[in-house]
Symmetry: C2
Subunit: 307 residues, 2 copies
């Protein structure tokens, strides 16, 4: 029987192909290009990148399966103890062209740590999916969250509320008074064996969350991708994309960990949007659609009546 | 007689007005708008911002004069010890529209630290000026460096070489194999009283470097601002601006210090370029003008024959 890490890696490879295929079909024009790369210290990855599609302006669906010695710097960054590690994950970011179609991000990962004898000392799963709209359609937000909740509820009805809150707390531009990057989703990390769940529970949950990704995102794309828009909508999208850049480069742990441990820069930074604007002190007009979005970014909502 | 910090603050205020005036004159259309702000913990600033000019697409010439308690976090970030602090500085970044006109950055600052009794325990000057062209004109790079060298040589002929090297080392995207942000200039920091120089020497030097700023930059702007350009030149400028964003948000100590100590976000991030592109794995064609620039960014040159 294959080890847990082999099983999960195999799952990620299949998932990567399924997601790329689903997105290509939705786009109808562009195709993912694959860049297979090797890591000097051990392992490598497969970066699949799409650009200049009819629907998707830029995006990446990347796998990395890496192992090797853990530098003291990297151990500190991760806040863990261990001599060597194994990590595999799938990271995706999709930036649509039409400002009425939201950007989406997802990541699912598994980590193992070993002592000086190569014996496992720690292992955990992490991941999640979150949505970044430029204009707020409540039905899209509610739909997206309902897919995430349904996935969580199939495992433990306590999970959605906890992981939804963690998502709102994590994807936040702290330097802008806790302005969230988007309308959230779920975010989970360091899911280890505990009193209620064994490691296999978290493996199955993380796999399940990957499998519902297209179901949570594509119906929203289909609904919005043909909506006509004006220059001012594109302008606002590019302003908001600036905040996406700020979050990813200043706060995102995955990005900073990758960069500080000599990860493959182009694969890490494929998450950055294709065209971006930074204006000084841009503030939406009172009562505008842009302000409506800002309100939910500053004050995250419960999208589902699940009290 | 005024204290050293009052004198330097006064110098910065006059310099701010002179620089804004010189840039407005060069632009011929846009004017700086002043945003005066207060800092909750003590002090405040005057952010002067220009946008949508005929020559300058976006820019800021900001002063801050702040004081207050030094949080343990901020002390660690600065790698200093002290209970409270005074800091004043002028920071400027100018992003021209025409891709043949280089972006320029400069900063001049003074810092004082006090113990629990409010007695000074440390003080130093820092600053510098550096140029970020999108296309390389050797005569511009040489001219820019010659102004910086002349300024340095008026104080100590050992300074230029040292501060030029520090500039190349500092403004570098380490995560891209030491790809420099631009063609450098000078960078100096923690200039304290030492065996050769008293604090007043560094004050006069820092003031002098501010006073030659326009002389180093405007002749280059004048020479390039009417050069006609094509979409592909603008495209490349926006790709390179992406690297500017990467440096400022991932590596720049001043930006990160400001953000982590609850500085005024809009004033800190005025440094970000107005329009930016992030393409996956953009590599200039062999023999192109774009590659010519890359070569000097990867391998900084001695622009002056001063061996």
């Amino acid at each position: 029987m294959n080890s847990l890490k082999d099983q999960f890696t195999q799952h990620l490879r299949i998932l990567q192909s399924e997601i790329c295929q689903g997105l290509e079909q939705e786009d109808g024009k562009a195709e993912f290009i694959s860049d297979v790369w090797e890591r000097q210290g051990g392992g490598g990855g497969d970066s699949r990148v799409i650009s200049r599609g009819d629907v998707f302006e830029k995006g990446g669906v990347n796998i990395s399966v890496v192992h090797g010695d853990l530098s003291p710097q990297a151990a500190q960054q991760l806040n863990v103890h261990g001599k060597s590690f194994f990590a595999c994950g799938l990271s995706l970011v999709i930036h649509p062209f039409n400002p009425f179609v939201p950007t989406v991000h997802a990541n699912w990962r598994y980590f193992e740590l070993y002592d000086e004898n190569g014996l496992p000392v720690d292992q955990w799963f992490g991941g999640g999916t979150d949505l970044t709209p430029y204009y707020l359609f409540e039905e899209d937000a509610t739909y997206f969250h309902s897919v995430q909740k349904k996935c969580c509820d199939g495992f433990d009805t306590a999970l959605y509320r906890k992981f939804k809150e963690q998502c709102d707390n994590y994807f936040s531009n702290h330097h802008r008074g806790e302005e969230r990057r988007g309308i959230g989703g779920i975010f989970f990390d360091h899911c280890r064996e505990d009193a209620q769940h064994d490691l296999n529970f978290w493996k199955r949950f993380t796999e399940a969350n990957g499998k519902v990704f297209l179901d949570g995102y594509l119906p929203i794309v289909t609904r919005r991708k043909t909506t006509s828009f004006a220059d001012k909508h594109k302008y606002w999208q590019e302003i908001r994309r600036g905040r996406y850049v700020e979050f990813n480069l200043i706060h995102d742990r995955g990005t900073l960990f990758g960069i500080r441990t000599n990860g493959r820069t182009e694969s890490i930074l494929m998450s950055l949007p294709p065209t971006v604007r930074f204006d000084y002190n841009d503030i939406p007009a009172t009562g505008s659609e842009e302000e409506k979005l800002m309100n939910v970014l500053m004050h995250p909502k419960q999208w589902l009546n699940d009290k």
